[in-house]
Subunit: 105 residues, 2 copies
C-alpha cells in the first residue's frame, strides 16, 4: 500500500540506493556520522537546512521531503496530547480562514 515512509526511512533508502556511506553524506552536511545515523533511524530530528541539503545530495524531490519533515515536526508537537487532533483541525481552519480573508493588501 506504500503508506507513510518517515523522513528517516526515505533518507536511508535513497542513501543506500546511491551506495553512499553515512560518513560520506555526513561529511557533506558537516556533521558527525552519529547524528545522521540517528536522523535516519528517527532518533533525532534534522534541521530544516539539513533536509534541504539532503534532498539535493540524494536527488530527492525537495517539496515532498519538506512536507514530510514538517508534518513530523507538527506531530511531534502534539504527540502525547489528548487534544492534539482537535488542535490540528482548528489550526487548519485558521489557515483556511486566513486564505479566504486577507486577499487584499
Amino acid at each position: 500500500m506504500k503508506n507513510n515512509n518517515s523522513v528517516g526511512e526515505i533518507l536511508r533508502k535513497h542513501r543506500e540506493e546511491k551506495g553512499l556511506l553515512l560518513r560520506q553524506v555526513a561529511a557533506l552536511l558537516d556533521i558527525d556520522t552519529a547524528i545522521l545515523s540517528k536522523i535516519e533511524r528517527g532518533e533525532r530530528k534534522a534541521k530544516k537546512e539539513q533536509i534541504v541539503q539532503l534532498a539535493k545530495i540524494l536527488d530527492l524531490n525537495q517539496e515532498n521531503l519538506i512536507v514530510q519533515y514538517l508534518s513530523e515536526k507538527i506531530l511531534s508537537e502534539i504527540q502525547d496530547e489528548v487534544l492534539g487532533e482537535k488542535a490540528l483541525k482548528v489550526a487548519e481552519q485558521k489557515i483556511k480562514y486566513n486564505n479566504t480573508k486577507n486577499k487584499e493588501v
Copy 2:
C-alpha cells in the same frame, strides 16, 4: 461572526471581566507581570502548565483553551513555511491512519 480569538485575547478579556490585575494573576502563576503581559498580547507563548493554571484561575473551559493553545503552537511551527498547509494536511492524514489502524494492542 465571533471568529478566532487568540489565547492572549481570551485571557485578557476574562481577566478583565473578573477585575483581576496582571500583578495578581502573575503572582498566582509565580511569574513576573511582564511575562503575563506579553502572553496576553501574544508577544510570548505560555507554557502548557500555565495555560492549565490560567483556565482554573479565570474559570475558563480548560479543553477549549488548550486546543486553542496547541493550535497556535502548531501554526507557529509552520508560520513562514510555504508548504505549511500541505504539511498540516499530511499530519492529519497520518493521525487518521493511526486511528483506523492500531486498534489492537
